[in-house]
Amino acid sequence: MSEEVSTQKPTSLWRDAWRRLLKNKLAVFGLCVLVFMVVAVIVGPYIVKAATGFSYDTMPTDGNLARSMPPSLQHPMGTDDAGRDLLARVLQGGRISLMVGIISTLVSLLIGVSYGAIAGYLGGFIDNVMMRIVDIFYSIPYILIVIVLLAVFGGPSTPEWIKWLSTNIGGAGNQGLSQIFLLFFALGLVSWLTMARVVRGQVLTLKNQEFVLAAKATGVSTFGIIFRHLIPNTLGPVIVYATLTIPSVMLTEAFLSFLGLGVQPPYASWGSLAADGIKNLAIFPWQLIAPGVTMALTLFSLNFLGDGLRDALDPQTRKF
């Protein structure tokens, strides 16, 4: 017994959480599917191109014959109504969908975490005002605002700074890419509220602990305390909540793309592919099923992983 104790390494919070996560079969399943999906959308388009010669925008050479073909060996997911290989398009669309999900979540993290931490640490009047603003935003039907935002700023009237970003970071200044960059911010701007509340709550419990007092005593600035000492300690709940924000952002992106407000041609996301597929539903159902099921599977895994992470990182709020 004593030998066992002496040889055991001290377990950190993260190692502990990781062990608990691995015990949760559903979360591990989610993690595996997710890793597979990420690898697939990154390298998949090249493999498909090498194996069959199709990329997401390859138009068929044999004209009308290749349009809306059912799944076959050559086209595992069939072709769309322009004759393009659907597997290549679903993989390419996955890149956009996952990218929108992750980057918008990062934008919301950036805003929500700083906002919540500042409000929580400063406290008093400032905290009161900042949280009242969050309350007001909460009761706004944000989906209406996002629809208005994307409709009026989408397409040709994208703000210059978004165009600049998409030219310099995205590599192409065309309208389609600007629209995707607009999506990052529009979706990030509406999903930071809960994050701000979560982080504020965490900071409120942390700010009276000794390490903050020690930092203050050694002369660390307020800015330093918030961003170097407090925020790293809120990482657990932030990771959990971020994992659950990604699927909800991806759902919103798909919803907007379905309405024609989100991702625009020449780009495609799972949402816009599904929206295209609905048009031919009665005759060529695979055009909806292929992107729809891929998306559902990804969201399914993300939700399971998020649930598992919550149980692993925060055993107290475990849902039994």
């Binding site: 007001i136 009761s139 706004i140 039907p141 944000y142 989906i143 209406l144 605002i145 629809i147 208005v148 935002l149 409709a151 009026v152 700023f153 009237s157 699927p247 759902l251 919103t252 798909a254 919803f255 379905f258 309405l259 949402g271 599904a274 929206a275 597929g277 609905i278 539903l281 009665a282 159902p285 909806l288 099923i289 729809g292 998306m295 559902a296 599977l297 969201l299 399914f300 939700n303 399971f304 649930d307 849902k319 039994f320």
Partner: protein
Amino acid sequence: MLSFIIRRTLIIIPMALIVVTLTWGLVRLAPGNFYTGEKKLPAAIEANIKKKYGLDQPWYTQYGMMMSNIIRGDFGDSVKYQGQSVNEIITRHLPYSATIGILGYLLALLIGLSAGTFAALKQNSSFDYGSMSLAMLGLSVPNFVLGPLLVLVFSFWLYWLPPARWGGIAGLILPVCTLAAIYAAYIARLTRAGMLEVLRSDYIRTARAKGLDEKTVLFRHALRGGLVPVLSFTGPALAALLAGTVVVEKVFAIPGLGNIFIQSVFNRDEPLILGIVAFLSILIMVFNLIVDVCYGFLDPRIRYE
């Protein structure tokens, strides 16, 4: 309690005005206008249109006029659907959205509450795992994928239900089920978590110790406490229900408010956009207030300041 309700009711008005201002600002900040199209209008016609809609005034005068009209409950006429007032359009299209919205939420409550309660009572049983996996699936399938899939199976393959036809119960089944799926999933998960927590609490032990039969313990005592998380989901659910009805109305070609809103946004029909946003914001805030009042009935430990 009464002062709480009054205070909250009074707050709704400035909040709705903030939402309207925000929307107005967004629509105005964007380049272009509702009359700008492919073809450039002759200058004289443009000047006339601007004069008619007061667009030649400075922005603060326009804002003031818009606000004073809205405060008096007059949203003006739609600029796209000539001669129809915004209030008229809203009252004409609201019943469709309200029907599927209310029926969808009731169905979700029915399925979610019963599945969640049963899963909590039979924790770790195969029913528990099955229904919770199904709930997770419900959360992960976007409704614009689910709706068409239901149409595919029940209309095109089985010929049981019409793919899109308003009127009669048959035409309502698919839209309502599509709308309800995701909320049923949410409610089932919330109910299960809430019930599991309540069933372990002291007052349930007390109730059992008093010798109450299991039915009374469950329905009179446990369900009340277990419902609190479901109730707090009602506010966000209503906001999300709006997005849901937009999709369902589009998939099943129902002429509801959601469809009209999307149209008005694409048309840059400013009075109609502002009218619908203001109407729906107030609706959501009123519901949130009702929810907050209901807390007290479910959980007597909650006090209002």
